[in-house]
């Protein structure tokens, strides 16, 4: 059986250097004084799970439980300290919308810049340009520098670019809270349309109702460990009973 995402024994360790040592001099002074110690912090510890194609997979947990780190490992931003994350397919990460936006450039220029950051070709972006601006509903401002935009407008553009392809895997990190309620609804519809077409979706959310509504299976992380992994109903019930509503 080939899974679309395989997370094998992933451990992610960070060095929490209390003061960051950025220079050689400091390094040698600390070394001489034997103060060179790092507090190790395990954001993820021996996490393993597999996701099948077409599945809608939820991740829940308190702040600092390692959810975002896990998403960053899956999307290739972090290389795990131990273990491996294998992904078979194209990913559209909606983790940080509008990564690489240059606030001095106009929305038009930024669509091309951000689009290429996500790995789209120029030709593709040209053909989809109208669709992107239509979706973001920003035709009036398309030649205005982004610094004059409201944060909601920036997020709209970001969402519109990131979801313009039919990705095989969509990663959604708590972003449905951007924009006004009308735009939120539009985002949700788009994500649901992608799901119907067989896109595998990973959702991180603090809104349990949303998870219950959308997901097939849920992973519950606690302090970097897997607390529970199973079907949505069972995990969500236990999660709620444990005092987190």
């Amino acid at each position: 059986m080939n899974y679309i995402i395989e997370v094998n024994d992933v451990t992610m360790r960070f060095n929490l250097s209390k003061e960051k040592i950025d220079s050689l001099k400091e390094y040698f002074i600390k070394l001489a004084k034997r103060q060179l110690k790092f507090d190790e912090f395990f954001a993820l510890k021996d996490v393993s799970f597999f996701i099948q194609k077409g599945e809608v997979f939820g991740i829940i947990g308190l702040n600092g439980s390692g959810k975002s780190t896990l998403l960053k490992v899956i999307s290739g931003i972090y290389t795990p300290t131990k273990g491996s994350a294998t992904v078979r397919g194209t990913i559209a990460p909606l983790i940080e919308l509008g990564a690489g936006f240059d606030m001095d450039l106009t929305a038009r220029e930024n669509i091309f810049l951000n689009g290429t950051v996500l790995g789209f070709s120029k030709k593709f972006l040209e053909s989809k340009f109208n669709e992107i601006v239509d979706f973001a509903e920003l035709w009036e401002f398309v030649d205005v520098p982004l610094k004059n935009y409201s944060s909601g407008m920036v997020a709209r553009i970001g969402f519109a670019i990131a979801t313009i392809t039919k990705p095989e895997i969509l990663i959604v990190d708590e972003i449905l809270s951007v924009g006004d309620f009308l735009f939120q609804k539009k985002c949700e519809e788009r994500i649901q349309a992608l799901m119907q077409e067989g896109t595998t979706v990973i959702i991180v959310s603090h809104t349990i109702a949303q998870i219950e509504k959308l997901c097939d299976r849920v992973l519950w992380l606690e302090k970097g460990h897997i607390k529970m992994l199973g079907d949505t109903q069972t995990v969500c019930e236990t999660y709620k009973l444990s005092g987190h509503i």
């Binding site: 220079s23 999307s75 940080e96 120029k122």
Partner: protein
């Protein structure tokens, strides 16, 4: 593994092009003459240096303007490419923390951008060539060779510096001093024959010396480079390039944790 790297590169090629064109836009934003500055700048510098060295310090170098321009073309490219590549990874930290991008894109982008500047400076040399009694020969068509050697040499150093500077930020300060020393160790405006022998031995360890000599030989002296010249230059370029890629590859995994 290799096919994956190639696929990845092709996927992010538009990004590379986009970043370079943004560099160009930013560099010439709000200047009246725009891109023309890339040609004018070396010409003006040459005028200053030529005046200084034909009145105050007198070296007996025939066709000094071309001698200077060929030397400074190579050195300036090297210094600009490596210096800007060095800061490229740290400078793009916000982006690297947010999305997956092959990280080598950034030093490569800066090296290519400096390479474009080099092409503009080359136009300056061609302009001066009209006014100077250098006999053009067919060997001039070999000029791309030393430039390509220099490019790969600079790319290797740039990649190594960009990755090491993530861990040791002192490099930023150290390297600018090193570049100055390197400049004086490169025969840009002085002739090699004024040097004492022991000093010459040091200069011969400087790869830029070999690239520049190669460049001058084919460009202004009409002298066919030997196989040995080629082997020396190729070795410097290849060792630097592969070492740079290796260092970058070994260290890039943990970049995000130190940015």
């Amino acid at each position: 593994m290799v096919t994956n790297t190639v696929k990845d590169f092709l996927k992010y090629k538009p990004l590379l092009a986009n970043l370079i064109s943004r560099d160009l836009k930013v560099k010439y934003r709000r200047s009246v003459l725009g891109v023309l500055w890339s040609v004018l700048n070396p010409l003006l510098m040459m005028t200053v240096i030529t005046i200084v060295f034909s009145t105050i310090f007198r070296f007996d170098i025939p066709n000094f303007p071309i001698y200077y321009l060929t030397g400074s073309l190579i050195y300036n490219f090297f210094s600009e490419a490596t210096n800007s590549a060095m800061t490229s990874v740290v400078g793009n930290a916000p982006l690297l923390k947010k999305v997956y991008i092959p990280k080598y894109i950034f030093p490569l982008q800066k090296s290519l951008f400096s390479f474009i500047n080099l092409l503009f400076s080359f136009i300056a040399i061609l302009i001066v060539l009209v006014f100077v009694p250098v006999q053009p020969t067919l060997l001039m068509f070999l000029t791309p060779i030393p430039i390509i050697y220099t490019f790969f040499f600079a790319l290797g150093i740039g990649m190594a510096l960009s990755s090491l500077s993530v861990y040791v930020r002192d490099l930023f300060h150290l390297y600018s001093v090193l570049l100055i020393a390197w400049m004086y160790l490169t025969p840009i405006f002085y002739p090699v024959n004024i040097l004492p022998d022991n000093f010459l031995a040091i200069i011969k360890l400087n790869p830029l010396y070999h690239f520049i000599t190669y460049f001058r030989n084919v460009f202004m002296y009409g002298q066919m480079p030997t196989l040995q010249d080629n082997l020396i230059c190729l070795t410097f370029a290849a060792v630097s390039f592969f070492l740079g890629v290796l260092i970058f590859k070994k260290t890039q995994k943990n970049f995000v944790l130190y940015l």
